[in-house]
Structures are given as C-alpha cells and as structure tokens.
Symmetry: C2
Subunit: 319 residues, 2 copies
C-alpha cells in the first residue's frame, strides 16, 4: 500500500521509523512527503526514513496527483481556530479517491460530519485515532469493539500541560513555573494559554463528541473555563482536604442536543481522572449497554502517536 | 444466525434479553437451551427469553446436533480446578463445525492453546471476551485495535470480593464481615476463599496470559498469595501513611517464559490499580509499541457480561 505524507515533522519521522521496523509483516511504503519548509520528495519505490527533499511542488493537490498513493496522511500543524489547512488537504485526497489518516484534531473538531459523509461518497475511509489521545484506541475501540452501543456522554483528562502545571503548583511552584515545567517536558503548545485556558481540551471534546455522538459541534460551542485562576495557595488548601484539580472535558446527551463542557474540576485526590500524570490521558465513556467503561495510556509520546497512525493504516488495509 | 446455549443461568437470561432488545438490527436467534437443572428447550424458530424446558436430551453432543446452530455459547458453571465440563462442551461444538463463545474463564485458563488450535483446524472461531473482565474489551481490543503489538506483561485489579473486603476493613469491619459484605453484594463465590486466597485472580491471570502472551500456563503455575492475612489494624496503619492494599494479577515475559503472580500488593492510595471499587476492574497492558495502555469498567454486572457475549457474536458474524 502506497502512502503520501502531507507534513513531515516529528510525528511523521516517528511513523516512518515504525514502518521500517514493521516492514517484514506490513508492506506499507511511503512514496511521497510534502512540506512547506523542506520541499517535496517523491519516489514510487519508497522513501528512506530521512528522505532527500527537492523543491516543493506547486500545491498539495499536485503532490497527491504525482504520488498516486492509496492513502494520504495529513500531519500538518493545527490551526486551532479553524482546522485549516488540514481540512482542505483531506478533501483534496478524498477527491482523488485516497483514504485519509490524520493525527490532527482540527478536522475532526471542526468538520467531522461533512468529512465523514464526503469520504463515504468517495468510497474511501477517514481515520483519526491519533488525533485526540496520542494513539490510545478510542475511535477504533468504539467502532470495532462496542457494536450496537450508544455513547451517552464522556469525561476525559486529556490535556498534558494543565496536569503538569497543577502537579508543579502542588509542589509549591507558581503557575508560571508550572508552565515552564510543561515547556521543559515538551508538552506545552507554543502559546501555553491554549492549554491552560482549555482550548485544547475543548477541541478534544468536540472531536470526540462529533465522532462518538454525532454532535456536529465545533470547539467554539464548548462551555469552557481553564485553570488560569488557580493558585498554589488554593491547591494547597484542597490538597489538605484530600482533593485536587483536574481539567476535565465532558459531554452529555440532553434533549436539546449534546452539551460540551471543559472545567478545572475539584475532585477527590484518589479519583480515577486525577490518577493521570504528565502526558497520561484517560477517558471514561458513559454507555447504554456497557455502563461506564474507559481507556487510558500512561505517559504517551511521539511513539504512541505514530502507532495510532499505524493502527489506522492496518484498519484501512483490512477493510 | 442460530445460537445454542449450554447452561441457562443469570448470564444467559441477561443475554437473551439483550438479544431481544437488539433484534431489529442484529438478527441473532436462540434456537436451543440445555441445562442439567431445567432440561432442554429447542425451537428452530427461536426460543422466548423465558423458554419452556422439556426433559433433558441425553448429552450436550445430542443437544448440539439437534439445534443445528451456527454458534454454541458455553455458559455453565466453572469447575475452578480443571475447567471442565466447559472444555469438553467447547470441543463437542468445534467437532460439529460450530463457532464457540464462552463467558467461562476455565477453558481459557486451562486449555487455551489447544482450543485455539482446534478451532483453527475446524475452521471456526473461539471467543471469550466476557470470561475475565465482565465484557470490558480486552481480548478484542488487542486483536482488533493493537495490530503488530507485543504484550510484554500486565497488571490487573480483577477480583471483586477482595476489593469489597479491603474496603470494608478500611471502614473498621472485620475480615469476616467484609466477606459478608461481598456476599450481600452478590460478588463472592460460594466459597469466598476462592476469591480471598487469589484463585480467581490466578485463573484470570492465566487466561489473559494464555491469550495475549501465548503463555500456555494453568492457574496452578501462578505464584499466588491472597489477602487472608490482612487485618483491619494493618490496613488502618497503611491508610494513615497514604497506602492501601490491592489484590493484583501480574504477568511478565522473562527469558525463562511468562511468569504469573497474584499478590495482595501495598500501593499508594491514589494508584490507578487502587481506584477500582466493588466490581470495577482495570487492566494495564505493558506493550512494545504503545507503552502502558489500559482499560477499565466501573461497577459492571450481568448486563456487561451479557454484552461481552454479544460483542463476540457480532465479531463472529462480521468475520
């Protein structure tokens, strides 16, 4: 199966290394990579993991045409306010009869229902396991393992920076020092307020709700409040009474539609949602037939995100 | 798809109710039920959820022949020391070209590799999602969503009675009162020492390791120590230092093969494995490509076990 990669940053490189490792059992081949920064590399026989880039072709459309790939992987950087240009890249791939995998939450958070329907009309598949939980099976879990189940709501501890900031403040450091700690761990966005004010959690809530609950919402519809007002003093008081604070993304189905909320919630220190440190993430699904069921991954990083793309690829190859 | 049920207790009844609810989308039909206690009921047009039983046919073999079912569900009571008679029932179904689903951990804990190979030779499927974690996707999670992943080990809080006993003792009740609490909740086995001495946890460890790690072990190979020596006084001391006790099933791959261990482990009170109450169960898988990843279900009961059977059935119908 031939693959075209739009974007070639850290996730793409980790994915290329994983493919090399698995080549014997899984004959996937990256035949093209295209980035604004490095240029374009195309080789029908397969690119090396560290490809030599030539000048960029004129457009993503031309790139996709020239690769003749069966699957396009959208791995560009997110514009958190619109989901573009990833959404346009995905549409360009659908128009060429190519399956699409993305690790980008933007398209799923901003335009899932349309993209899902366009993929169906084009007779191709659209997969995005790595977009919300770094490769933890959540979309594929519900699709493959929970047939006939209705998702009534969810609660997730999905943002890394806020966890690091709270944990630093619990050790007596200031909010700003906590943000520095998150930067040092490489988990904070360039603009850390994107994390601490709950935008990242809101985008993840919208993405999950759009896929699992057909919510047809965008991150702008999320009732959102971040951890910006938290102080080490307030956290110390909470800790003394056996409590802590977690930035939680919640969804629930109501007669008026799906409601999404992101809050810095005060929870018992031994709450399941409070048991996640650093990049660890956890999601509890509230379902009709299985009650409350959940998944988590401890300290995921690039390796897990790359695996999320790989698991989508195998799903497409099987299907 | 026509189903034959061997055993017709609480799980079978919950499963029959679930099938009735899902009839419109999933055309599965129970055409036979056979129990030592109630007798045999066979109707090619489908049994009612509360079927009228006639006298028992002479054997499970005769029952399976007469139902002409495509799938046999093995739902009898476990003999914890051998996995029989469930193993023989499953073999009888394979010999008739019938797929098998069981909610019984015995066959998976005592004879998984042989049964898997026999199913392959017979060209049928063998599924057992409900056998270890009440329907929480674990076997299907690894099979469907973690392609190419090697399971290097696991740690699970899988036994309900021991959780209830520890939680009761933390409230100052005695060990015996804790066992009574577990009985009142309907989670303790008839012989509660089966739970408290770690036999249940050992059977679950062997079942998981046999399927996920090709361990080819039985529960007798598990290095096992239960919670029998715990006292409310010891727990009170641990609690004062922020700790608790959890009966944990662990596996790890070593150069000398897979090692299995069940222990009453002293853990921090906010440990993930300690966050499960009552029947809630949680499993952490240690993997090569996804690091540490896990699943849990909060307070599952018959409904979830019945759904585990259903999810296996859909998997067979798809496959």
């Amino acid at each position: 199966m031939k693959l075209a990669l739009i974007g070639y940053g850290k996730v793409a490189r980790a994915f290329a290394r994983l493919l090399e490792k698995k080549r014997a059992s899984y004959p996937f081949r990256i035949v093209g990579a295209h980035t604004l920064r490095h240029g374009t590399a195309i080789d029908p026989k397969g690119l090396a993991a560290d490809p030599v880039f030539g000048p960029p072709v004129a457009s993503v459309e031309e790139f996709l045409d020239r690769t003749r790939a069966e699957v396009a992987l959208e791995l560009t950087t997110l514009n958190p306010e619109s989901g573009e240009p990833a959404i346009s890249h995905i549409r360009a791939a659908f128009a060429r009869g190519q399956h699409v995998i993305t690790s980008n939450k933007g398209p799923v958070a901003f335009a899932y229902a349309e993209l899902r329907d366009e993929a169906a009309r084009a007779g191709v598949m659209f997969r995005h396991e790595a977009a919300v939980m770094d490769g933890t099976p959540v979309f594929n879990l519900v699709r493959n393992n929970l047939p006939g189940v209705e998702i009534k709501g969810f609660a997730g501890a999905l943002n890394s920076t806020s966890k690091v900031v709270v944990q630093s403040m619990l050790k007596g450091r200031s909010f700003e020092e906590g943000v520095e700690d998150a930067r040092a761990l490489g988990v904070a966005e360039a603009d850390a307020s994107f994390d601490t004010e709950g935008w990242d959690s809101a985008a993840k809530a919208a993405a999950l709700a759009n896929v699992l609950m057909d919510a047809r919402l965008t991150p702008h519809a999320v009732d959102r409040r971040g951890i910006g007002r938290l102080t080490p003093e307030r956290l110390a008081l909470l800790k003394a009474s056996g409590k802590t604070v977690v930035l939680v993304s919640r969804a629930r189905r109501t007669p008026a539609g799906v409601k999404l909320r992101v809050r810095a919630e005060v929870l018992p220190a031994d709450d399941l949602l409070a048991a996640m440190y650093g990049t660890s993430n956890l999601l509890i699904l509230d379902t009709d037939l299985m009650g409350e069921i959940g998944v988590f991954t401890l300290q995921p990083g690039l390796k897990q995100t790359a695996y999320g793309l790989f698991s989508d690829l195998v799903d497409i190859a099987r299907g």
